[in-house]
Amino acid sequence: MSEDSVFELARHYRFQWEQAQQAYVLLYPEGMVKLGTSAGEILKRVDGASPVSAIVADLERAFPGADLRRDVTEFLAHASVKGWIRVKPG
């Protein structure tokens, strides 16, 4: 993964805010992952258009004072391994 990598949600996954759980969740066939606060904030920005650098910058604007680069790249790597997201081809 580089600064310029662009991620998108894996096919057939859906990301949404879940009122009853007060959390962001990922939905897929016959299952659901409930996301922690920071995972939710990162995934919310995975839109198939923003490169990693833009996601980091945007998060640092929303949560000033923190160095989030490492958190973001670690989570994106984890989410790729889990198959929730993938690098957008091309």
Binding site: R11, Q16, A20, L27, P29, E30, M32
Partner: protein
């Protein structure tokens, strides 16, 4: 008393019991012809909304054949607006381009196609060009509209030896996921059990064929093989526990903790026509009846494994022993386990060519009416 239970995650909407097929292993209730009127579109919409408010996220549309309902498009779109992840479980009969385009547009997330061989049409299922063309057409539509191709095939003694051919067919249709699910013995399948339960030998052969096929196709196709629980010595954790994650809604508006629960005696299942889902899930006596482990008898009550399997399936316990609060006889700690081993032994003999009387009950309206008249609530094991 209101339960502290977590919300249901899964809603299964059995929209109708009408179906163009007559599968001998159908898990629909055998007396389905005796039920009241189907819920109307507005009633379904209200119930789906209540389900979301309660916290449900997964929604399955099934039946019968859900495509028989001509308001499916409306319900699909409503489900998406409400934020469900929705899945259509269908035989594919009645699917055409106009409908699948509307489902896509409305936001349907997933389609699971079951290839039914209704035995009456067994040869058809495996060889006829007519049905094969139909299947090819469905598979093509599913792909064209960017759904993963998920195939479900129910296995039993009469077709399990063809597992190789079934997998070839799946490969030709470029299926991405194939579920080879052995029949579970409820409803029509239970009536037909002695003709449907495969022998141990058949099972082993089928698994071997499946494994070889897996090696050949690699990641292209994911294949699940589900053995019948009659060949296990511990029961399945049925529904992950009674009233724990799953809520089944019947065509005529009853709420059930599993698809089969309707046959259990002494329980009054609440109707969505009279109650809202929140009351049904948390407060109705039926949903609290087998929640947790207070209701258990020995050997489950003092068993260290009860948190793992919840004593198995209430309906199977009732069907086989006549008491829904007993251990599922699949468990070899159950004093009734011999009921299972005897059925398995009969399957072995049948497999070895000892003739059994071939009387299959086809799931059709006439048989259903006959069976409802008998109002046969007594266990038949």
């Amino acid at each position: 008393m209101s339960s502290q239970a977590n919300p249901p995650l899964w809603l299964l909407a059995e929209l109708t019991y009408r179906c163009p097929l007559h599968c001998v292993y159908c898990s629909n209730p055998v007396d389905y012809t005796a039920y009241g009127e189907e819920l109307a579109t507005e009633e379904w919409v209200r119930v789906l909304r209540e389900g979301r408010q309660l916290g449900a996220t997964q929604l399955g549309f099934s039946g019968g054949e859900p495509l028989v309902r001509d308001d499916l498009e409306v319900l699909v779109a409503e489900a998406r607006t409400l934020g469900y992840y929705s899945n259509l479980i269908t035989s594919g009969i009645g699917l055409n381009e106009r409908r699948i385009a509307a489902f896509k547009e409305g936001g349907l997330d997933h389609i699971q196609v079951s290839f039914q061989d209704s035995t009456r049409e067994m040869n058809d299922f495996l060889s006829s060009t007519r049905t094969f063309d139909l299947k090819r057409r469905i598979a093509k539509l599913v792909k064209q509209y960017d759904y993963p191709m998920v195939l479900n095939v129910v296995l039993h003694r009469l077709n399990i030896d063809h597992v190789g051919q079934i997998l070839e067919l799946a490969a030709e249709l470029e299926a991405e996921y194939v579920e080879l699910a052995n029949t579970q013995y409820y409803g029509w399948a239970f009536l037909n059990r002695d003709l449907l339960l495969p022998s141990q030998e058949q099972l082993e052969r089928a698994e071997e064929v499946t494994n070889r096929f897996r090696e050949r196709v690699g990641n292209r196709m994911k294949i699940y093989f589900v053995v019948p629980d009659y060949y296990e010595n511990r029961p399945k954790a049925c529904m992950n526990g009674w009233g724990s994650v799953f809520l089944n809604l019947t065509a005529d508006g009853l709420a059930l903790p599993c698809h089969e629960a309707r046959m259990l005696p002494g329980l009054e299942f609440p109707s969505v026509r009279e109650h809202d889902l929140r009351w049904i899930w948390h407060d109705s006596p039926a949903f609290n009846r087998y929640r947790g482990d207070e209701w258990m008898k020995e050997p489950c009550r003092s068993c260290p494994e009860k948190a793992k399997d919840y004593g198995g399936c209430r309906c199977q316990a009732y069907l086989l022993t006549g008491d829904a609060a007993l251990a599922d006889p699949v468990c070899d700690k159950s004093p009734h386990h011999a009921l299972i081993t005897r059925a398995v032994e009969r399957a072995r003999q049948a497999g070895a060519g000892v003739e059994t009387k071939p009387v299959l009950f086809y799931r059709d309206d006439e048989n259903s009416r006959r069976l409802s008249r008998k109002s046969e609530k007594a266990p038949i094991a």
